[in-house]
């Protein structure tokens, strides 16, 4: 019954239903003052493409990125662009970055890249930059100023003088709770660039900053942390509306510090933390020291996902597309002045937003 008659009926239906079209992901646009400036973009992050040997890559991580890319291409309405939030690769090799870039090339949209530590610490971002360009930059889109930072830098001595090989440097930075590790930072030079970049921007312009690590301090042992977070925040403080969106943490987080709203994005690879029960067979994850329940260890995509983001009057609403799970929306609430997890937690159960360290 693939005859043309039924196809015609189907397409005829398409025109008739256009007025009452339904959106995927149960998205509801919030009411905002100036809808002309509203737009959307998608955010994919932390795919950790990992080379085993020869043509072999970790299948699970490949499937995560492939699926996020394919689904992003189906979005209606179409996003204006796509962000990739860093850690495309696991150990920063050409093989991993090339393989990841190949998969990202299937995106039907303009894509902006953020540097992650797993992309960086083998060759200090050299090959990544050849593929994707600048490690920090800014751009304007529909009245919003976007800034991309490389937030995973650290002390020069650690980077350049401490390790006998680039491979060991990469592995040391990839390890969690590693006494040989070093805290992430944006660094003085890049902060000065940021200061100059923001100097030119009207403080009423909505500002959205993308970084790999949180520009706030959560947990140092896993580098859920940026050492000069306060200095960077000080540069964002003069803006009426500032938002920081970061990867690295592989989980939903949100916070409000002064005028700055913080949102984390999901990984396509694995959830942090993940439980010991997942480790039934040979696997390629870094050793984890704090196990925690994963909803369903059977489903490799469970607790991973990607996001679709509404930007309305300069504030963001994150739609988390979660596999094998209920999608979630964390949206900035203008009356409350901070991001609100719209369905997940009862009001009384929420942890108050942090306004100081």
């Amino acid at each position: 019954m693939t005859d043309s008659a039924s196809r015609r009926d189907f397409l005829k239906g398409a025109g008739a239903a256009a007025a009452a079209s339904t959106l995927p992901l149960s998205m509801v646009k919030l009411a905002f003052a100036d809808p002309a400036q509203d737009f959307t973009f998608a955010y994919i992050s932390d795919s950790h493409i990992q080379h085993i040997k020869g043509n072999e890559f970790v299948r699970n991580w490949d499937r995560g990125l492939i699926r996020a890319v394919a689904e992003t291409n189906l979005l209606r309405p179409k996003p204006d662009f796509v962000m990739f939030g860093g850690d495309l690769a696991q150990l920063g090799t050409k093989a991993e970055l090339d393989h990841g870039a190949e998969m990202l090339s299937k995106l039907n949209y303009e894509t902006h890249m953020v540097m992650g530590e797993h992309d960086y610490y083998l060759d200090l971002g050299e090959y990544w930059s050849r593929l994707f360009g600048d490690q920090h930059y800014s751009f304007d889109h529909k009245g919003v100023h976007f800034v991309v930072l490389n937030s995973i830098l650290t002390f020069d001595e650690w980077t350049h003088e401490r390790w006998p090989t680039p491979e060991q440097r990469m592995l040391e930075m990839a390890a969690l709770d590693n006494p040989n590790g070093s805290p992430f930072m944006v660094g003085e030079k890049q902060r000065e660039w940021l200061r100059q970049d923001l100097e030119k921007v009207d403080k009423k312009t909505p500002l959205v900053v993308f970084s790999h690590s949180p520009i706030q301090k959560i947990y140092k042992g896993w580098n859920f942390w940026t050492d000069d977070a306060e200095e960077v925040q000080a540069l964002l403080k003069p803006f009426d509306k500032a938002t920081v969106i970061y990867g690295h943490v592989h989980q939903i987080q949100y916070n409000q510090i002064g005028n700055i709203a913080f949102h984390a994005v999901m990984a396509t690879a694995w959830p942090w933390p993940y439980p010991e029960s997942y480790a039934q067979a040979e696997q390629h994850m870094p050793v984890l020291t704090v196990p925690m329940n994963r909803a369903d260890p059977f489903f490799e995509r469970d607790a991973t996902g990607w996001q679709f983001i509404d930007v309305a009057t300069g504030r963001v609403a994150m739609d988390y597309n979660l596999y094998n799970n209920t999608n979630r929306r964390v949206a900035f609430d203008a009356t409350k002045g901070h991001p609100v997890d719209t369905a997940y937690q009862a009001e009384a159960d929420r942890i108050p937003p942090q306004d100081h360290y």
Partner: protein, 386 residues
Amino acid sequence: MNGFRIALLLTAGLTLAAGAMAGDADAPPLGLPPVPIPEANPQTPEKIALGDKLFDDKRFSSTGEVACATCHDPKKAFTDSPLQVSEGIEKDGKKLTGTRNAPTVVNAAYMTTQFWDGRSPSLEDQALHPPVNPVEMGLPSHEPILEIVRTDPEYVEAFKAVFGKTGDQITMDEVTKAIGAFERTKVSGDSPFDRYFYGGEKDALTDAQRRGFDLYVNKGRCVSCHVIEQTQAIFTDGRFHNVGVGINDIQDEIPTLAGEYIDAGITGEDVDIEVLGDKRSSELGRFAVTTSFDGLGAFKTPTLRNVAVTAPYMHDGSKKTLRDVVVHYNNGGVTNEGDPVNDFLSGGIRPLDLTEDEIDDLVAFMDALTSPEFAGLPKSLGLEEK
């Protein structure tokens, strides 16, 4: 998990009544929980008998040749085996066909949604759709059915006795309640597996079946979706998974097709007509109901009870034998090793690395899930071909 399910059923206004299967038995068969009976549709012997009669009535089709029992034949474990997809009314000398393999009615009473894509929430609602689907029973509306049940003397008497209603008081609500009540009696356990696992009969399974059971819960990962619990086994999680069947054939078309489908805003009865009338729309699976990406190419986990006698397999009937099915899963969601995996494959599906002998053992295990009343039917294991 089960506690959660029960809680859900209760909030939906259902009660679980032990021994509710009037007609067949006082208690559920070995390996099965009590049948969930909706509060609004209690079982009575008269209602069940009426449902049975309605289930068999060919007059509820435009040609007078197709009944519920045509595709859900009691003599074929309530399927139309060995048809790949179901045949409906005849048009221009040819039987019209749908896009999907008829699922068995047996144990459908335990399903939390009906149809392969779960587009119907209950047995009662499910029964509304095939009569008015153009490729199934082909009626323009439910009116012809109501006309018959309001005038046929046997029906007039039965509806009055069961529901206390006559004439225009009889609606599709009463018709589908009777059919649902009948279908809730079609439950079946007591398989060799049930006797082995729940009955303590160590010899009920062969060596190969016992090895297959171990593979089923461990290396084969089957149990994660086809659930077996400590006291009962319905063999489904009631969820929807893209396992690489059907959608693998239309991979390149998904971006266009999914977009068209979202834009078309197809809902309600139109979903039923679209997915059974168009093969490509059918392969969108659960997505056609929810337009959620997680449902792309995803279909409901079917029960495995009596699976040996209900060939062919999968939502599209594309696998002839149980061995074909296991090979597909062993390849990680592709029928031929090396074929492209679809982008939306469910996260639980991955290559299993089963040996040929292990595949055979898994098939042998599934052969142990047949209830005694269906044990005489032809099987489609695929073991003899090797």
